[in-house]
């Protein structure tokens, strides 16, 4: 809860990632060209990719700030359990900053000429992907906390781990576009990856935090 509130008060809340995401998906067609078939085909993949980038964009602040202002020391010394605290913190921040992304993806899908139902599928897939993306970015952020210009390191650590989520989430939208029944399977796989990260990654984050404080 506190993280969600802090993310709101400290630096524009969801405006940053949302603006980034919006800019990415509106500028991409200008680069790709005006062919409607091409745009509709590339749309879901583009949006999945743009979502990934906007998650990475805020990953540096998530643990870097807490490291430098001493909050991480205090989190380690609370009886609540560091893993649980990290899970709450990361998800809270993620939900607070990234909630507009599925909505924008829905509109973006329509804008790209993807059928409404497929756009809905894409939005749902992104919503399912966000917990996984945020937690993986949080893990990388915790590993790199306290390092100057940690953004590059975070991208290098997190990007490979985000590959499955990207494939499944974008796959759901793409399969939906092609009228394929694999769309639902992809969506469920995305949700499964997300649940898996919720269960496992907090322990990784807690271990990373402890090692960074040493």
């Amino acid at each position: 809860m506190r993280e969600a509130r802090l993310a709101w008060s400290g630096g524009g809340g969801p405006a940053g990632p949302a603006a980034f995401f919006l800019a990415a998906i509106t500028l991409a067609p200008l680069a790709i060209g005006p062919s409607p078939e091409l745009l509709a085909a590339a749309g879901p993949g583009l949006m999945g990719f743009a979502a990934l980038l906007s998650v990475l964009q805020s990953a540096e602040r998530l643990y870097g700030d807490d490291f430098s202002d001493g909050t991480l020391d205090l989190y380690v010394l609370t009886p609540a359990g560091l893993s649980l605290l990290c899970l709450a913190k990361t998800l809270g921040q993620g939900v607070a900053t990234l909630w507009p992304l599925p909505l924008i993806a829905l509109l973006g899908g329509l804008m790209y000429g993807v059928a409404p139902l497929s756009s809905l599928m894409l939005a749902a897939a992104l919503a399912a992907a966000i917990p996984a993306l945020v937690l993986i970015a949080g893990f990388a952020g915790a590993l790199a906390a306290g390092i100057r210009r940690s953004g590059l390191l975070i991208a290098l650590i997190a990007a490979p781990m985000m590959v499955p989520v990207l494939i499944f989430a974008a796959g759901a939208g793409r399969a939906g576009f092609e009228g394929d029944e694999r769309a639902l399977a992809n969506l469920l796989l995305t949700a499964a990856v997300s649940l898996g990260t919720v269960a496992l990654v907090p322990f990784g984050i807690a271990a990373a935090v402890r090692s960074r404080l040493g």
Partner: protein, 251 residues
Amino acid sequence: MAVCFGGVLTGVRARCNAVFRALTNAPRSGDMRSMTTAFADFPDMSAFSPRPLAASGLCLSRGGVRLVERLDLDLAPGGALLLTGPNGTGKTTLMRALAGFVRPDAGTIGIDGQAPEAVAADMLGWLGHVDGLKPNETLRRALRFWAGLHGTPRTAILPLMRLMAIDVLIDRPAGQLSRGQQRRAGLVRVALANRPLWLLDEPAGPLDGAGRERLAELVAWHRARGGSVLAATHQLLDWPDAQTIDLGDYR
């Protein structure tokens, strides 16, 4: 009251009273009645069960440089220990080792006979060299958050803030406060954690004279409850019956 002889200004008298009160409440005063009257302004928190801190043969290094060589220390419940020594002699490193953040090269640390990593979360009130405040968060929200996390009732927040004379700042974002005011808020947070063993890194660093007296009162209250305090400091803190270790002697 002899110290106040000739003190015509009420401010001076108030200051002397504060020192006097702190002095007369040395930890061994077992008289509960005098304790409750002397600490009437403090929130009502129960006494701690005794948790001694001990370290023996401690060797610590940082960045490959050996800082502390074969240090022994003992901190009994109700006691106070001041770490002094020039910059870079390992005061902070020692405190981080006692809190379980850093592993010592050699030697043992026991909080109530157990390893610090295992019990630190239930035993320690920690004030690092930064206060753990968020620039955009008001003190009210920050302190409520920490009180909730440590299971301390919110009603303790305001009396403690009043004691540190920052109660009027309760709705100000921490980023707008001076360093000394932030330090006072950090001390309130430590008290709210309601843990028997306080590790304070430069608690008086940015504090003014009045702030140092309020810190002394806070520490006296904590010790009267059976808590103990270990503080790294460059200031002269005249806490009653405090041992001093000069880390410069352990190089």
